[in-house]
């Protein structure tokens, strides 16, 4: 088992609970969509996957470890086991595609000779082999997101967390990105995607966890989006 949320609740500073009594299990190698309206609690849940926020109730266990028990100093090591992709790409504008991806390997201390071999491989995997020397402002939205995905998987994470990865993309490009994520999942990486992309969710027939007002209202294998987009 990869992720286990048991009676998870989250309340920010005496306000209304953002999450309450959230329960689910995600196995290694699964592909899961998190769906729900804006403000439903998806982002808070994504933050828990990254150990950016902690539950105020219950347990959130990733790789057999309750995230509450991960000390501040151990967060970097924990995050190295994950890959993360955001809606706004979060690329470094002053670095080339190659450098943006390589950067994630420098951080974990990978030697240069391995980086030189691995970065082109990953760029090839996401279809950017010929864009290695381009800067982010020379790329389309889809290409930027591919760079972000390449950076997220370069260190072979066991789980990839994507927060609205297609939110800024046209439908055709969004599909390209989803195919890449699906491909990554088929290679054995657990993929969690928070999204509003109804057509994609409905077509891909993956597991869907739906959240409304901080509660899980649906958890279906081969599910659908279930809302009007």
């Amino acid at each position: 088992m990869m992720v286990c949320a048991r009676n998870v609740g989250k309340t920010y500073d005496l306000g209304k609970p953002v999450l309450s009594n959230v329960n689910f299990l995600i196995d290694k190698g699964e592909f899961v969509f998190l769906v729900g309206a804006s403000g439903a609690g998806k982002s808070t849940l994504i933050k828990m996957f990254l150990r950016e926020t902690l539950p105020t109730e219950g347990e959130f266990i990733i790789n057999d470890k309750d995230i509450k028990e991960i000390e501040e100093k151990d967060i970097p090591m924990f995050r190295r086991t994950l890959g993360v992709v955001f809606q706004d790409f979060r690329l470094l504008d002053d670095r080339t595609v190659y450098e943006n991806v390589e950067f994630a390997m420098i951080i974990v201390g990978t030697p240069k000779r391995i980086r030189r071999k691995r970065v082109p491989e990953i760029l090839h995997q996401v279809g950017l082999a010929d864009r290695a020397n381009a800067y982010p402002d020379q790329l389309s939205g889809g290409e930027k997101q591919r760079v972000a995905i390449a950076r997220a998987i370069i260190n072979n994470p066991v789980m990839l967390v994507a927060d609205e990865p297609t939110g800024n993309l046209d439908p055709e490009t969004a599909w390209e990105i989803m195919h890449i994520l699906d491909d990554i999942n088929k290679r054995g990486t657990t993929v969690i995607v928070a999204t509003h992309a109804k057509e994609i969710v409905d077509t891909m027939k993956k597991r869907v966890i739906a959240i409304e007002h901080g509660n899980i209202v649906r958890d279906e294998e081969k599910g659908v989006y279930g809302y009007d987009s």
Binding site: P76, R79, R80, R90, D94, F103, I107, V108, G109
Partner: protein, 293 residues
């Protein structure tokens, strides 16, 4: 730290310094000014100390011996004086020497004194140099206790003023130096803050990718250190030139300024330590709050 990582830190720091040219130049200029003032105060303290030493060498105590004593007793008193703590040297200054000197001083009017040569009105004496002006009072008291000492002339009052001046300069300078160190720390910290603000996105990404706090912090610390080194070297060059001109034109009685070769290493060490230390500390502090992701 691996060589790869070090190269990465250095490259990032250099890039940031170039990217934020205006802030970098502004903070280096202000740090140079601060270090220059620090250096000027240090040079001033060293010189005050050096000059008071020169002055105290000129401040001799003269001990006059009772005229009823014979030559042997006169010598014995000299031996006793040598044993007093703080006495650096003792020199005989006989009544004949005093008489001759006064004759010489009077020049054309020396005849007035010449008539008294057979009945010399002066007393035999000793000229005494002491190690430290602060000991003047103690030494004079010890001299007055010796049998056969008629009286002494000394510079107790002047020594007191000089000591007070030296202490005041030292104390004021220490506070000024501390104050300027704090000001420099703020300046460098602010420069790094600007750089941190410009790179908050990068820091945020680094955190998500699993960078340790020190991996993120190091380029900023290196940036602060580079600014510190540049500032230290420029301030050193400026103070060297300024000192050279003052040294060449300095003239006050017989006093001399300390040669630059005697103090350059202390100034360079202080500039280096303050510049680099403050640069590194300022950087490490200013990045702290951006590491909480």
């Amino acid at each position: 730290m691996t060589r790869d990582a070090f190269k990465y830190y250095f490259r990032q720091a250099s890039k940031s310094l170039k990217k934020n040219k205006v802030t970098t130049l502004a903070s280096i200029s202000t740090t140079v000014a601060t270090l220059f003032i620090l250096g000027a105060f240090m040079a001033f303290i060293f010189n005050v100390s050096y000059m008071t030493e020169q002055f105290s060498r000129g401040c001799q105590i003269q001990v006059f011996i009772d005229e009823t004593l014979d030559a042997e007793q006169y010598d014995k008193i000299g031996d006793k004086i040598k044993l007093i703590e703080g006495v650096a040297s003792v020199e005989k200054y006989t009544k004949e020497q005093i008489f001759d000197e006064n004759v010489e001083k009077l020049g054309d009017k020396a005849e007035i004194l010449e008539g008294l040569r057979e009945d010399n009105p002066f007393r035999d004496s000793y000229k005494i140099e002491i190690n430290d002006l602060e000991l003047t009072e103690t030494v004079v008291k010890a001299l007055e206790k010796i049998d056969g000492v008629a009286n002494t002339t000394d510079f107790r009052e002047a020594a007191g003023y000089i000591n007070m001046f030296r202490k005041t300069v030292r104390n004021v300078s220490i506070w000024v130096v501390i104050l300027f160190c704090i000001i420099t720390a703020f300046i460098v910290a602010n420069a790094v803050k600007v750089s941190v603000y410009g790179r908050r996105k990068e820091i945020n990404i680094m955190k998500y990718v699993g960078a340790t706090d020190w991996f993120i912090r190091w380029p900023f610390v290196v940036e602060g250190v580079i600014m510190g080194i540049y500032s230290a070297l420029i301030s050193f060059a400026v103070i060297w030139i300024a000192y050279f001109f003052i040294y060449r034109n300095f003239s006050f009685q017989d006093l001399q300024m300390l040669p630059f070769k005697n103090i350059w290493w202390m100034l360079l060490a202080a500039f280096g330590a303050v510049g680099i230390g403050i640069g590194a500390a300022g950087s490490a502090i200013s990045i702290r709050k951006h590491l909480k992701v």
